[in-house]
């Protein structure tokens, strides 16, 4: 008998929760393929290490962008391999709950459920990421009070107001931490004339990236390929220039939080001033982001204890109480 699963199918990482066991897999959503034969060479962490470092016949790709499947076939193969790794076989077909961005289209929804069913799931249901995040962040969403959760992922940022087990107001933008990495890549190419890979851009973001001024800021050295000479070159970056470079995606995220606050009913708005908003998702770890949101909204922002795992833990709770909570699935009439 298969144990049911909850999957956080993120643009950046995929996490799997097994009923009764907890988180059993946490890997980057990357797959490496042989370009000529189409065979899968690696998935997850192993494939992630290959990004930008592969010979011509290997391609390491992320099959999800902006929280949506960009390559259906590759996503299906990736899900199948991930499910095999947690013990799903042809004879053990579990029920699966998958977390997806709330703003995905009907076609994208069907693509995710079809991919999971073809990959071996007996039944696949979807749940909105902010709802799962609120459950996983242990917010009192069963009470008639305003709970606000900001989930900043690799490809999407979603802000939701939740009360009495349902979403009251929602705002989603297809901007996430990958857009911040891309902004860093573009800035270095434009201003310093060197090309860097997406992994290096991410390392710069982690090292010196920030959304607001912070204490003990340091500079960072970055190595890349000079666009003019083609030779390796080193430049020194300052936190201020990186802050300027990522201003566009950061301000889009902050603006979506402000729009969500404006959509919230007044009775719930006053709760936020006391209870604050909760920040989850890997993008929420960007230095100074909580302070920046707090400054622009004048509402306290708190960081979840488990920003990277909150969504899958929430979906895991849903799989543990499947019958009682199946009304929360996307597409189910409430």
């Amino acid at each position: 008998m298969a144990r049911d699963l909850a999957i956080d199918l993120g643009t950046a990482n995929t996490l799997v929760y097994m009923k009764g066991k907890g988180i059993v897999l946490n890997e980057p959503s990357v797959i490496a393929l042989n370009r000529q034969t189409g065979e899968v060479l690696a998935t997850g962490r192993e494939a992630w290490q290959m990004i930008g470092r592969t010979p011509g016949y290997i391609v390491a790709v992320r099959p999800l962008r902006g929280g949506a499947i960009t390559d259906f076939e590759i996503t299906e193969r990736m899900i199948r391999l991930l499910l095999q790794r947690v013990g799903v076989s042809r004879f053990t077909r579990p029920k699966v709950v998958i977390c997806v961005p709330s703003a995905i289209t009907e076609v994208e929804r069907r693509a995710v459920t079809d991919a999971a069913r073809r990959a071996g799931a007996a039944d696949a249901n979807l749940i909105e990421q902010p709802m799962a995040a609120a459950i996983g962040a242990d917010l009192p969403i069963d009470e008639p009070v305003g709970n606000m959760v900001i989930d900043i992922g690799g490809g999407t940022s979603e802000t939701a107001v939740i009360s009495l087990g349902g979403i009251v107001a929602l705002e989603a933008v297809r901007v996430g931490s990958f857009d911040i990495d891309a902004a860093i890549q573009n800035h270095i190419r434009r201003e310093h004339g060197i090309a860097i890979g997406e992994r290096t851009a991410e390392e710069i973001k982690i090292a010196i990236g920030s959304a607001a001024e912070t204490v003990d800021e340091a500079t960072a050295e970055v190595r890349g390929r000079d666009l003019m000479s083609g030779l390796p070159k080193t430049v020194v970056l300052t936190p201020e220039e990186i802050r300027d470079a990522i201003e566009d995606p950061v301000s889009s995220i902050v603006a979506s939080v402000v729009r969500c606050l404006a959509k919230a009913p007044p009775e719930l708005s006053q709760d936020f001033l006391v209870r604050g908003m909760y920040l989850v998702g890997g993008g929420g770890l960007l230095r100074g982001l909580a302070a920046r949101i707090e400054r622009e909204t004048e509402v306290p922002v708190r960081m979840s204890n488990v920003p990277l795992e909150a969504v899958v833990l929430g979906a895991g709770h849903v799989i543990e109480h499947y019958d009682a909570l199946k009304g929360m699935f996307m597409g189910v009439r409430r």
Partner: protein
């Protein structure tokens, strides 16, 4: 006589409809109650335990890179 049968059938149908409607609204109330109970902090104790376990294992500033391992 046939008129009596028709009237009785209509009354029976009306009673049946009322019973079904009441039952459906009772179901909705109990489903909602069940959902809210399943989201309560008592029911989510396993989630809180796992959160505590993860935060004890990894300090907040070492929780890894946002987009990678």
């Amino acid at each position: 006589m046939p008129l009596l049968i028709i009237v009785a059938a209509i009354i029976a149908l009306a009673i049946l409809l009322i019973i079904r409607r009441t039952k459906r609204s009772d179901d909705a109330v109990s489903d909602f109650r069940r959902q809210i109970n399943a989201l309560s902090s008592d029911a989510r104790k396993n989630v809180t335990d796992r959160v505590r376990q993860i935060s004890d294992e990894v300090p907040a500033d070492e929780q890894g890179e946002p987009n990678g391992p």
